[in-house]
Amino acid sequence: MKKMKINTKKKLIFFGTLAVLLLVFSIFSEYLTPYDPYEQDLSIAKQAPSAEHLLGTDRYGRDMLSRVIIGSQASIYSTLILVAVITIIGTIIGIICGLSGKAVDVILMRISDIFLAFPGLVFALAIAGVLGGGIHNAIIALAAVSWPKFARLARSQTLAIKETAFIEASKLSGTGVFKMVFKHILPNIIGPILVTAVLDIGTMMMELAGLSFLGLGAKPPIAEWGSMMSDARSMLATAPWIVMAPGIAIFISVMIFNLLGDTLRDFADPKGR
């Protein structure tokens, strides 16, 4: 028990530090690029990785390392904002459904069913199409179709916890609804929601990239990992580093957030602490 306690804490600190480093890195990415990520030089287009250009150059001769570094801003930030928005909205709606009586629950859940009935990305495409391109609209579009998952999760967790003896006991202590939600319900359901949210970062990163690829997300020349990858797909055979560089960047970020999510879940469980 005690050994596990230390390990979980150490792991949490380790992955937490990595995630924070990644964030700090992306905040200061403008100052970390060795070259101007937007400067084109066709004379050095599609160069393989070398000492001068560590990750090679893309088809316009832009330095890939610089583009990957600057791309972290668009990729990581928009994904985090998106995930935060859908987690908060979904959780609020889910708790309202779980606690309130029949009518509200039925109405909100049928609405979420409608959203779940469509293939998410296609529906997001339609919304983004109506709103127009741009990373903000892409976030709004994806948020509009992604909240039901969290609403369902929060609702089922709330329903399960609502019937427990300690909720009834605290009702008998005269605890009001708000205090009940923030002191008794939220802390006990937030674990799985948080883990789902952190694990969702990868998916959302890819979906944002998908929208970018179709011209409905980040617009070129803005560097964004997903759109950089999609952009270079046709050159996978001839210049694989152009796809690999942002791909590995996504892989590393997703891994860090996934492992952080797992550790967070272990830590959030008081029995394992």
């Binding site: 003896a165 605290s170 005269g174």
Partner: protein, 251 residues
């Protein structure tokens, strides 16, 4: 002695699916006198807990009246009701939020009633000691203590607002025999100390325990009251067939 609690013709119907209904309670009436201990016995599903949950408003009755301290329960606000009636649950550990310290759980009703933080702590520690726990347990989490200790804390929580009626819903059922005895001793101590200021409704399927602990007893079956009266009288020479069968199956 006056009746502190009167349950009059209580009916409770649960909808089970669209067409089937379960009559959990049918015309249940019983009364609890001040300072008395009333045992409620019966097999699972006989409506013992449902009666308790209606009195504490965790379940709504379909029909009938609950009179508490001479006033109809419908005229009493939740806040006031929970100062008069408190309940100890069957599952001690589960009746505490795993993320909240025992002391904060015990003191929750005090805090909700506007008692200051420092005074709450003082009073909770006193309550814990009264219920046989060291006051250091204030800072323990529910999973760090045993079931019996948790039940002591639950009793402390129920006593925090000096209720007049304490409902023990199978409060000893999930504990082993020696711990059961300790809890009963604790409840006896509380009765001795508070005299007619506290009345206990003791729900149990342990008939021997009820005979030993309670003054009066109500026997329930299938949502109806089969028999009620003096505990010894009913358990030793009952008139109803169901009661005889129930007692024969245990003793």
């Amino acid at each position: 002695m006056d009746n502190i609690l009167e349950v009059k013709n209580l009916n409770c119907i649960f909808n089970k699916g669209r067409k089937t209904q379960v009559n959990a309670l049918k015309d249940v009436s019983f009364e609890l006198k001040a300072g008395e201990c009333l045992g409620i016995i019966g097999e699972s599903g006989s409506g013992k807990s449902t009666s308790a949950r209606i009195i504490t408003r965790l379940v709504k009755a379909s029909d009938g009246e609950v009179v508490i301290d001479g006033r109809s329960s419908s005229d009493i606000s939740n806040k006031e009701l929970y100062k008069i009636v408190q309940m100890v649950f069957q599952t001690p550990v589960e009746s505490f939020n795993p993320r909240v310290k025992l002391g904060d759980g015990v003191g929750e009703s005090l805090r909700n009633n506007g008692v200051s933080k420092s005074e709450t702590k003082e009073r909770v520690e006193k309550l814990l000691v009264e219920c046989g726990l060291p006051k250091e347990y204030y800072d323990k989490y529910p999973h760090e203590v045993s079931g019996g200790e948790c039940q002591r804390a639950a009793i402390a929580r129920a006593l925090a607002n000096e209720p007049k009626i304490l409902i023990c819903d199978e409060a000893t059922s999930s504990l082993d025999v020696t711990v059961q005895k300790e809890i009963i001793a604790l409840l006896n101590g509380i009765r001795e100390k508070r005299g007619s200021d506290i009345s206990i409704m003791f729900i149990s399927h342990d008939i021997a325990l009820v005979q030993q602990f309670c003054d009066k007893v109500v026997v329930m079956n299938k949502g109806q009251v089969v028999e009620k009266g003096d505990a010894n009288e009913i358990i030793m020479n009952s008139k109803e067939d169901y009661t005889k069968k129930l007692i024969a199956s245990v003793l």
